[in-house]
Amino acid sequence: MSKKTIHIPLGSQHISLLEPVRFKFECENEKIVGVDSDVGFVHRGIERACTTKFKFDAIGYVVARVCGLCAITHSLSYTVAIEKLLGGEISKKAKYLRILLLELDRIHSHMLCLSHTCENAGFEAMFMRIMGDRELVMEIQELLTGNRIQFDYISIGGVNRDLDVQTAKKIIENLALVKAKVFSYIDEFTNNWSLSLKFKGIGALTLEDAYRFNAIGPLARACGLPIDVRNEIEYLPFDEVGFKMQTHNDGDINARNMVRLNEILNSLEMCENILRGLPEGEIFTKLKGKPKGEALMRFEAPRGELMYYVKGDGSAMLNRVRIKTPTFACIPAFSHIFMGEEYADAPAILASFDPCLSCTAK
C-alpha cells in the first residue's frame, strides 16, 4: 500500500500569515505528523549594520525596526544597555513614562494577537471587534508619541516627549473604555461554544516541555511557568506600579488567550497607577561619552523576554549588538506543539504563539 501522507505548506506567503515564514506540514489526512520550518525570510542583517553602519546613538531607531510590534521594547532595551555603559541615572519621570508606553504597547500588541487568533480561527466578527477597540489604544499612542506604530519615543537619556495634561486625561478615558471591552472579551472567550471547540485543549504545551524548551512569555506563562522579566529586573519600578504575574495551567490556546487578557487588565491597572502617581521632573538627561565595556539588558516584550547584549570600545561604533528576541527562543517549542494537531488548527495555533519572525531573523 502506498504512503499516505500529504504535505501541506503554510507560507511563506499565506493569508493567515502577516510575515513570511514557511512551515511544511507532513499530514496524515489533516493530522500533522511532521513539521519542517524555515524562519529565515526576514533576515536583513541588522546586527551587523549596528556595528558598521550606524553610530551608537542612532541605533535606538534602527533596532525599533527589528519589529514593529514591540519596537518600544527593542529601543528601550538597547537604550538602557547603552545608558548602563555610559553611566548616569535618568529621571524617575522618564522611567515612569517608559513603563507607560511599554504597557500601552503590550495592550495593543496583545489585542492584535487575540484578534488575529480569532481571525485565524475563522471568527471574523471577533477580529473586527477587537481590532475596532484596539483603535482606542492606537489613538492614545499616537497622541503620546506622534505615530501609531513606530513610536521612536525613547532616546538615550530619557524620552522624547513630555506628557501633557490633556493627553493624560484622554489616556485615562480611553483606558477605562478598553477595560470594559476586555471584560467582555473574557466573557466571550470563556463562553463561546465554537471558540472553545477551536481553542480548548488545542495546541497544548506541558509545563515540563515549557521548562525543557526554555519557553518564555505568554506561551510559558500559559503552562504555569512563572517567567516574566518584569519580575526579574530592578531597573524599572514595575513593582511600584502594580505588576502582577499572570499564569494559567492548561497550556493550550485558550490558556494563552486568558493569560493575554489578564495581562491586558494588569497593564491597564499599571498605566492608571503611573498616570496617577507620575513624579515631577525632567524627561531627559543628557548623557556624555562613548559606550565602553559590556552590558546585557533584558525586558519583557509582549511576546516574552527580549535580551540585548552590547559591547563597545569607547568609539562611536559599537563592537557587538546581540539581539535575542522572544520568538527566536520559542521556535523549538513551536514545532513541538504542532505535532499531532490538525492542520485546520495550525493557523490558529500559530497565531496564538503570536510569533514575530521579523525579530527572529533580524
Binding site: M126, E142, L143, N160, D187, E188, N191
Partner: protein
C-alpha cells in the same frame, strides 16, 4: 456566543465606527510626526541632520548653482526623500536651529507613482555624495 449574537444584532442599528476617509479628511493631531520641512534661509549647513539621520534620508549634495545662503560654502543643496525617511525626528533633534532650519510638521507625505522615480533618483544622489566624500 449569545452575547456576540446580540451584539451583532445591536450593531445593525448603530452608527458604524468607520470614518469615511477620504470623503471626510482626517485631521492630524499637531504632535503627529509627519514630513520633515526645511527652511533654506536659516540653515547653517552644519550637516548634523545628514549625519544623524539613520536611513540617510537627508543628503546635501553639491550642485551647479547653489542657493545664496552665505553659510553654504561648499555649494550644497538639501535633498530630502520622504520615501526613505522613517519619520523618527532625529534630524530635528540634531539640528542646532530646530523650528527654523529643520522641523517636523504634522503633514502627511504624498503617495508617489512610478514616474516619480523615488528610488532611482535617490541612487543618483547617493552616488554623487559618495564621489564627493571620496574626493
Amino acid at each position: 456566543m449569545l452575547t456576540s449574537f446580540i451584539k451583532a444584532f445591536k450593531n445593525l442599528f448603530k452608527k458604524p465606527q468607520t470614518i469615511d476617509y477620504p470623503a471626510t479628511p482626517i485631521v492630524q493631531d499637531k504632535g503627529h510626526r509627519g514630513l520633515i520641512e526645511y527652511g533654506e534661509e536659516s540653515c547653517i549647513y552644519c550637516l548634523k541632520c545628514e549625519k544623524a539621520c539613520p536611513p540617510g534620508a537627508i543628503l546635501f549634495v553639491p550642485v551647479q548653482d547653489p542657493s545664496q545662503n552665505e553659510k553654504n560654502k561648499k555649494g550644497l543643496a538639501y535633498n530630502y526623500n520622504p520615501y526613505l525617511c522613517i519619520y523618527c525626528g532625529e534630524c530635528v533633534r540634531a539640528c542646532p536651529k530646530p523650528d527654523e532650519a529643520l522641523w517636523q510638521s504634522n503633514k502627511k507625505p504624498q503617495v508617489a507613482v512610478k514616474s516619480d522615480k523615488v528610488n532611482a533618483e535617490w541612487f543618483v544622489l547617493e552616488k554623487l555624495k559618495k564621489q564627493e566624500k571620496t574626493k
